[in-house]
Amino acid sequence: MKLNLIGLLFGALFGGLLAGAQLHEYDTIHAMLRLDEPDVFLLMGSAIAVSAPLLWLIERRGMKTPFGGEFSLSRSMPQRHHIKGGALFGIGWAIAGTCPAPALVMVSSGALLGLIAIPGIFLGLHIHERESQNQLHVGDGEHRNLQPTGK
């Protein structure tokens, strides 16, 4: 319960930040991918520049997290599905001008076509779900179908 509340707080902060940066507007994403505006690249770069050293430090010191126990980062080696999925994701990103998190922000900001984008995203997830029904499912997201990664 406490964990959920913390999740809610950080989720709200993330959503607010996306809205503040206008990432829920097609025009922002399109201008970025047209390489006209560096803002979004700078935003992503600064986010990584803040979190990467912190994660490195926490991992190096072997710090425990207050609620999640042992702190461990998960890394995996690139495989074919990463390249295939990444390529299709990029095409969809350029066409729809939004990605999963900003699509949710679109709806809450009153941008109506977000109501078209979200069912589209779920259809894509559903297609993948149906395709992979025969495969072994372990966990979700990046860590389903766990295979040895050499680590």
């Binding site: 979190s51 998960s74 690139p78 390529a87 259809l123």
Partner: protein, 91 residues
């Protein structure tokens, strides 16, 4: 008329101003839906999206996340280029 409302209503917007400048509402909806389907499918196959792989994965130096991020940035920029050509540079 619907397009007009979507564009000029103070509260209700489409969120796709630039796209609607070159396309009517119908094709815009089809394009957004198709793009979003690719987006969802790609994210499921790759195991993450712009925030999952692009921000969190790269911040923890996961090699797979670097690969995914480099791939989607490349295809997204190329697709945008194709869209620009297809619309005669209007988009």
């Amino acid at each position: 008329m619907v397009t007009q409302v979507l564009r000029e209503g103070s509260e209700v917007r489409s969120g796709y101003d630039a796209l609607q400048d070159v396309l009517p509402l119908g094709p815009t909806i089809v394009l957004v839906f198709a793009g979003a389907t690719l987006l969802g499918y790609g994210a499921a196959v790759a195991g993450g999206c712009t925030s999952g792989h692009g921000l969190c994965g790269t911040a923890q130096r996961s090699p797979a996340s670097f690969a995914v991020t480099a791939t989607f940035m490349t295809t997204a920029i190329l697709t945008t280029l194709v869209l620009r050509f297809a619309t005669g540079g209007d988009l």
